[in-house]
């Protein structure tokens, strides 16, 4: 798994770690029972504070993505189907909202947008 931290994005570092680990879980790159790098190791590798790393891991545990086993490390939990669907729905919604905003700005009508969506689905063979 790769974690790449930007110091210039303005997004807090613990958020960046969380997002990237979550994405790795959603994409299947991290599987159930995979062991995350230790908090100390990750802090050292990324040259960041131990507290920042701890916070990211604690948040992931609270949100049900990983479990911390005392003295062993942080393991990836089985993927919850509901959670994955929820995440996908959120992404679709955001993408569609962007499309609607762009359509409004460009004076494109609702029916044109829906038509375009249908065409695109067809092109992608998405039934």
């Amino acid at each position: 798994m790769q974690i790449i931290i930007s110091n210039r994005s303005g997004i807090p570092i613990y958020e960046q770690i969380k997002t990237q680990i979550k994405e790795a879980i959603f994409s299947g790159e991290l599987q159930e029972d995979d062991l995350l790098p230790s908090i100390r190791q990750l802090a050292k590798d990324l040259k960041i504070s131990v507290i920042t790393t701890t916070r990211a891991y604690n948040d992931l545990q609270e949100e049900g993505f990983v479990v911390n086993v005392q003295g062993k490390g942080c393991y990836v939990l089985p993927r919850d189907k509901e959670m994955i669907k929820e995440n996908a729905l959120l992404k679709v919604e955001n993408g569609l909202l962007d499309a609607i905003t762009a359509a409004k700005l460009g004076g494109i009508s609702k029916s044109e947008v829906i038509q375009m969506l249908n065409v695109l689905c067809e092109e992608e063979n998405y039934e």
Partner: protein
């Protein structure tokens, strides 16, 4: 909680300067940054930790034991911006001079660090570059079983490569969760990276002591047109400075709702916090 440093209501009065009830602590396993403008009391506090000065009142405990003059030194490794070694000493003389002070001196370890840092034992102290002098002190500090490393301006005057190396060494040092580092510096970029906790001292008083992340999230930088500031909100701006094309300052992040999107609100750096706090104190005077 396993505190390596515990300072409680430390007072020390000098002519024209005083430490006023300084209290903070540092847990094992973590790196604490110690920041504040020049003359704020950083070095005086460090001297109290090292048992070089006697406090007027209050308490300094290292690993649970109260510091009396000359007691805790075995467990503390010290790195200053300029070492107290005699300039004409060769490196082997340095070992001969310092090792008798430490019951747990480990000569093998010392020489392995020298090798790792590429320091030749026949060189004289004065022939070492600044970075090498810092590394030599680190080698000494890491060879006598220190639990606490106290660094006073170790990275000032060092190039980015040497600073990066030293930051990595500090992270290694605390990684077994038995050691701690107190790191006083003006180069806050180093602390912004690796420090877990920040203790901020200003005019002899602790202004903040807690996690670095909380400090950096607590405040935001604000700038914009001074005429747009609602009249009752101006007092909330810390370190307010007006110039020909606008104003800048710092506000608590929770106050940012009071300011419209006409203002630029962005994350604040440690450097900016130090500057705004200092400026704020001058504005108040």
């Amino acid at each position: 909680m396993n505190n390596i440093i515990e300072i409680d209501k430390l007072k020390k009065q000098y002519d024209g300067f005083a430490l006023n009830e300084v209290s903070f602590h540092l847990q094992a396993g973590y790196i604490g940054g110690f920041v504040g403008p020049n003359g704020a009391g950083k070095t005086t506090t460090i001297k109290a930790i090292l048992g070089i000065i006697r406090p007027d009142s209050g308490q300094v405990k290292i690993m649970g034991e109260e510091v009396k003059e000359g007691t805790a030194k075995e467990f503390i490794g010290v790195v200053m911006d300029n070492p107290f070694y005699v300039e004409d000493w060769r490196i082997k003389d340095v070992e001969a001079a310092v090792s008798p002070f430490y019951s747990q001196w480990n000569s093998t370890q010392f020489h392995s660090y020298l090798k790792q840092f590429h320091i030749q034992t026949n060189k004289k102290v004065k022939e070492l570059s600044r970075g090498m002098k810092v590394k030599l002190q680190m080698a000494v500090a890491l060879s006598h079983g220190a639990r606490l490393l106290v660094l006073d301006e170790p990275t000032s005057g060092l190039d980015p490569v040497a600073r990066d190396e030293i930051c990595g060494m500090l992270q290694d040092f605390v990684s077994d969760e038995n050691h701690a580092v107190l790191f006083s510096t003006h180069i806050t970029a180093d602390l912004e990276k690796i420090a877990d906790f920040i203790t901020f001292i200003s005019d002899g008083e602790i202004w903040y002591s807690g996690t670095k992340d909380e400090l950096l999230e607590k405040y935001v930088r604000i700038s914009g047109n001074p005429r747009e500031i609602p009249e009752n909100q101006k007092a909330r701006i810390i370190g307010y400075r007006e110039h020909s094309t606008g104003f800048e300052g710092m506000i608590q992040a929770t106050d940012s709702r009071q300011f419209s999107s006409k203002f630029l609100i962005e994350p604040v750096t440690l450097d900016e916090i130090i500057i705004f706090i200092n400026k704020g104190r001058k504005n108040d005077e």
